[in-house]
Symmetry: C2
Subunit: 324 residues, 2 copies
């Protein structure tokens, strides 16, 4: 079994906390955040010592109607600048671009003209060649890059190994372990972290983790990966994110021992802004239907529909799921 | 670092699942469960293959007014029998008795006259001598016994070690690791499981875990302990329990691979009975105030009061807590 990288109390300057509230939380409310919310979140992240804030997607305007989504689905340069100005802070700005759903050659401009620092490229194992093309493009434009391989809990081990080997040869800075279905247990996270780290570190890269909370393990899996050497840690305020949501920022910052992080502004932000989002009818978080899709290692779309219909016939849902 | 006891997929016949819904959940609703609820829960546990069901406390009627609590605070023999009859099932019946809050010599009758199988003795490190007296008494009466050492996250390591050594010499069957404040992280659970198991196994005893969900780690800590050899696993329906609650039964049974467990009746019970309890105004579960007391390794009583007052000024609460 692999060794821990540091004990609980030790200081790990390599750790980077990434706030994904707007991006993954945007999947809950169709990116309909007010400018005030985004501005306050930005200020909170700066004050809390968070390392990166992901503003949303760079989605293709040819594929997605700009009138059907909030602006953070597209993350136009001027919209980000309206929040952060020149961003003269220690917080770096990230956006996500999905392979096949972005006009990256048109919409991702040279870094010298952008306030964005990092492009996070989301891919499946099956679309790695297209992802490599995007990595090379974004790297050449001057950005830091991450590759977020989604749904790895259903990927063949051999395919994943091959994908990691290919990615090791690219200029990507961070390789992310993404538990899209919230189906992985801590002991699996340990094994997978080991595999990711071995390949990433040999190539001078970092590893990251993006966890989902279907089985109430997002925080546990995040700190488990962290304990074993994964250093880019995704979290969201109140765990806001698609379906069961993500790792809670307030739990993660309470765990980390680096004095650069300050949890107080996070508590203030949650009481002022996150509770309001919930009162307005936005629903996310671990519920029985998400436990079921997580346990069965399935995409949460059926559980999201079940939630939207306000159903609670869990046993019927379970029977449907296992007969799929 | 210690080795895992079996991989995820392996079969562990030593595992015993203990349902604590009435006992720990009773701390939420003052033990005010209807007979119908308790009967259905009993039938659910039998159908689900759960190994033990804890009915409540054997509390002293001299210390606690029977008119101020539901009957499961006291667990009279006839009240249990009204639910289970002679309990001709594979499910065993447990009750808890707190050191110093029970008239055990009066209220715990010989096993041959009781439908109860196991007495769980709850103690602090400081009351170990009195606990040993109770262990000996209950063992001599013919019961299986567990010792649940509470609040170990604040105990001195030396005192805890001494306590475990003393307990190893008693006839107790199971020694429980209890994370009363929900403050322990998985890596601490691994270290403590190792310490408990080493002493328990050398004395021919089992180890158990009772986790709280303040930092959303109750399930993660339970399966972490399980993975490393702890075999008595406490859980409650919908995680119902004091404050932030406990490990969710529906998550635990989804994790375990032993085919004797059947999760379907649990889903049915939750949709029919647990959601109703919530609608009736019973409140438990992980919220920011519990994360804060968990992070600070404090008793949740301040967070419970904060919850009862329906407050959401988390930052004020945090400031008060850290200035204590």
């Amino acid at each position: 079994m692999m060794e821990q990288k540091g004990e609980l109390i030790s200081f790990r300057p390599d750790i980077k906390v990434v706030d994904c509230t707007i991006r993954d939380g945007g999947l809950v409310n169709n990116f309909g955040f007010t400018d005030e919310f985004v501005k306050k979140l930005y200020e909170t992240n700066v004050a809390a010592g968070v390392d990166y804030m992901e503003f949303g997607y760079k989605a293709s305007k040819a594929q997605f109607d700009v009138n059907s989504f909030g602006k953070w689905k597209f993350c136009d340069e001027e919209d980000i600048r309206a929040i952060v100005g020149e961003n003269n802070t220690d917080l770096k700005i990230a956006v996500m671009a999905d392979v096949g759903r972005t006009d990256f050659r048109k919409d991702i401009i040279p870094k010298k003209d952008s306030v964005i620092d990092m492009i996070r490229i989301a891919t499946y194992v099956s679309t790695i060649p297209a992802a490599v093309e995007m990595i090379n493009y974004c790297h050449d434009m001057g950005y830091e890059t991450t590759i977020n391989i989604m749904a790895v809990s259903t990927a063949k081990e051999e395919d994943l190994k091959l994908a990691l080997d290919i990615l090791a040869k690219t200029p990507v800075d961070v390789i992310y372990l993404v538990d899209s279905y919230g189906s992985l247990y801590p002991e699996e996270i340990r094994r997978m972290s080991e595999a990711y780290l071995k390949i990433a570190e040999a190539a001078g890269k970092k590893a990251g983790i993006h966890a989902h909370n279907n089985q109430m393990l997002a925080f546990a899996n995040t700190i488990e990966a962290c304990t074993f050497g994964v250093s880019f840690l995704d979290a969201t305020m109140s765990g806001m994110g698609r379906g069961a949501g993500n790792c809670f920022m307030e739990l993660l910052l309470g765990f980390l021992r680096n004095p650069k992080y300050n949890i107080r502004p996070v508590f203030k932000f949650i009481e002022t802004h996150m509770n309001k989002l919930k009162e307005e009818g936005n629903v996310w978080g671990c519920d029985v239907q998400y436990m079921i899709t997580g346990q069965r290692n399935q995409h949460p779309r059926t559980a999201i529909a079940f939630t939207a219909e306000k159903r609670t016939d869990y046993l019927n849902f379970f029977q449907t799921i296992i007969e799929d």
